[in-house]
């Protein structure tokens, strides 16, 4: 029988319909219906200046709103062939890692709610609030920060901000291990998490799983390694695991939070002096930039005439991860409750995914690049 779940469901923050094909309690396969959050944001962006575009790009997704603006700004900086001042790059790293911490904590809290572990759910939200305070202190807003501009960041920080953030991170670090241990050694959590929702490495490659989901399946791939700021200035190690199940995905996120806290400390220690914003003249051209969002890689391809955005295409990680979940993880799951928790372990972000629908009548599935511009800018 087909068991529909959603679009309004206690454990899904966002609307999405999950159709589970069940036999008794066993879930045989799953299908996902998208389209509840499609707002046509790329279409709205076309013909707007970057000042309006960056505001819109923040509204692609609320949870990882920061990385969208950073990628948008860096795409324009790439078109101009310039980079933001070093202090601005450091501040971007600082905000990015704070955003990653709160996003991962929220994702794990959703998972714990799905396995009915109310205690850890509350603890995760308890840990998250100070991080939201740090973000608010730094940028002025809790969710949609409006922090990036093309050529740097909007505001400078002073020492008192950094001291407060350092204090928050130190406190988080001292408490954090206890909660990770609760998850790591909890017998009930283990029963619900180990060997549930397996995604093997081959399947992860086939489904193009990225981010913590791919890394938990043994794909050591983190775009921060290739980002110039991280490459030149920071030491961090890519967290990846081999156990491939729900436990691995959550544990991977926990370990990444630890790594992010180390990065924040490095930023505060080594923050260089200088400007945080410079004027960049944007020429006409086409650029593409990829960044590591909390959920994986986010790609922006922008074509501009120097003033207005002519074309824009946004590719977000959730679409691949949710597809990997529907195709491979929700295949022969023992119970419906496990299917829900597996779905939550993928950290789905529906507002991110609802980008564009390509219907090709001839049946060819082409990549979403504007053909004429691809030829024109091939040499780049």
């Amino acid at each position: 029988m087909i068991l529909p779940i959603g679009p309004v469901h206690p454990n899904l923050k966002e609307p999405l319909r999950l159709k589970l094909k069940t036999q008794g309690e066993r879930v045989l396969s799953a299908e996902i219906d998208y389209g509840y959050v499609h707002r046509g944001i790329e279409r709205v962006m076309k013909g707007k200046t970057w000042q309006k575009g960056i505001y819109l790009s923040e509204r692609v997704c609320g949870i990882c709103s920061y990385i969208h603006t950073q990628t948008f700004a860096e795409t324009f900086e790439k078109i101009a062939g310039e980079r933001a001042p070093l202090r601005a790059q450091f501040l971007r790293v600082l905000t990015n890692e704070l955003d990653r911490i709160q996003s991962h904590l929220l994702a794990n809290s959703t998972y714990f709610k799905c396995i009915e572990h109310e205690t850890l759910f509350m603890y995760m939200l308890y840990l998250r609030e100070p991080v939201m305070d740090a973000i608010e202190l730094l940028t002025g807003n809790r969710v949609n920060m409006g922090w990036n501009v093309v050529g740097g960041v909007k505001m400078d920080v002073n020492q008192s901000h950094l001291d407060s953030i350092q204090e928050i991170i130190t406190k988080l670090e001292s408490e954090f291990d206890r909660y990770v241990e609760m998850f790591d050694h909890g017998p009930m959590v283990g029963l619900r998490s180990h060997d549930v929702g397996k995604l093997t490495q081959e399947e992860a490659i086939k489904a193009r799983a990225v981010g913590p989901i791919g890394r938990a399946s043994g794909l050591k791939h983190d775009l921060r390694e290739k980002h110039h700021t991280y490459q030149d200035n920071f030491d961090f190690k890519v967290i990846w695991r081999k156990d491939q199940d729900n436990y691995a995905r959550n544990m991977n996120r926990f370990d990444e939070i630890t790594e992010s806290m180390k990065l924040i400390k490095q930023v505060i220690l080594n923050l260089p002096e200088g400007d945080v914003r410079k004027k960049i003249n944007i020429p006409a051209g086409y650029g593409e930039w990829r960044n590591e969002a909390p959920r994986g890689e986010v790609t922006y391809s922008i074509e501009t005439n120097g003033n207005l955005i002519k074309n824009i295409s946004i590719r977000t990680p959730s679409i691949m991860n949710i597809d990997a979940c529907a195709k491979y993880m929700l295949k022969d799951v023992a119970t419906v409750a496990d299917a829900i928790s597996t779905y939550a372990s993928v950290d789905p972000c529906i507002a991110c995914t609802e980008r564009v629908v390509i219907v090709d009548e001839s049946g060819k599935s082409g990549e979403y690049v504007y053909p004429e511009y691809k030829l024109e800018y091939k040499s780049e």
């Binding site: 206690p10 707002r39 046509g40 944001i41 279409r43 709205v44 509204r59 929220l106 809790r142 507002a351």
Partner: protein, 149 residues
């Protein structure tokens, strides 16, 4: 006397249903933050159920997208009386940035269902959402309940 008793019960146990009708999910995570120990929605006798059939208060976040145009009314019909609707964020009020040329949103929410309270902001802070639910919720539910009886 029965009315008074019902008032007390209705005021002290409010079930909230979050319906996201297509926004950037910023408001949704601020509602989730309400559950955290810092804001602690449940100390005011408010429970998040997300089952429309059990709810007293419907929180609508998001501009109405194509898929939600008929579904929103259907969900509202399933909520038992007395019920109130709180619109959270700019999207349900005006469509915010999505309500421009090219966007496929059909805001405002009040075209589809009656809205009792509105919280503007992109997104509003959790305290503002909480204040809106508390100031509009219990009394409006009690008043609407008396109308029916």
């Amino acid at each position: 006397m029965l009315d008074g008793l019902k008032d007390i019960i209705r005021k002290s146990s409010i079930h909230v249903c979050l319906v996201s009708t297509g926004g950037c999910n910023g408001c949704d995570i601020e509602v989730v933050a309400l559950l955290s120990p810092r804001y602690d929605l449940e100390q005011y006798g408010i429970y998040v159920t997300n089952n429309p059939r059990e709810a007293d208060v419907v929180l609508v976040t998001g501009a109405v997208t194509e898929q939600w145009r008929d579904k929103l009314e259907r969900i509202f019909a399933k909520v038992p009386d007395p019920k109130i609707v709180v619109a959270i964020g700019n999207c349900p009020l005006s469509g915010d940035v999505f309500n421009q040329e090219g966007g496929s949103v059909y805001a405002p929410v009040s075209d589809y269902i009656p809205v009792d309270a509105e919280v503007s902001g992109c997104p509003p802070r959790p305290t503002e959402i909480l204040a809106a639910i508390l100031s509009a919720g219990p009394d409006a539910i009690a008043a609407k309940g008396r109308q029916k009886v």
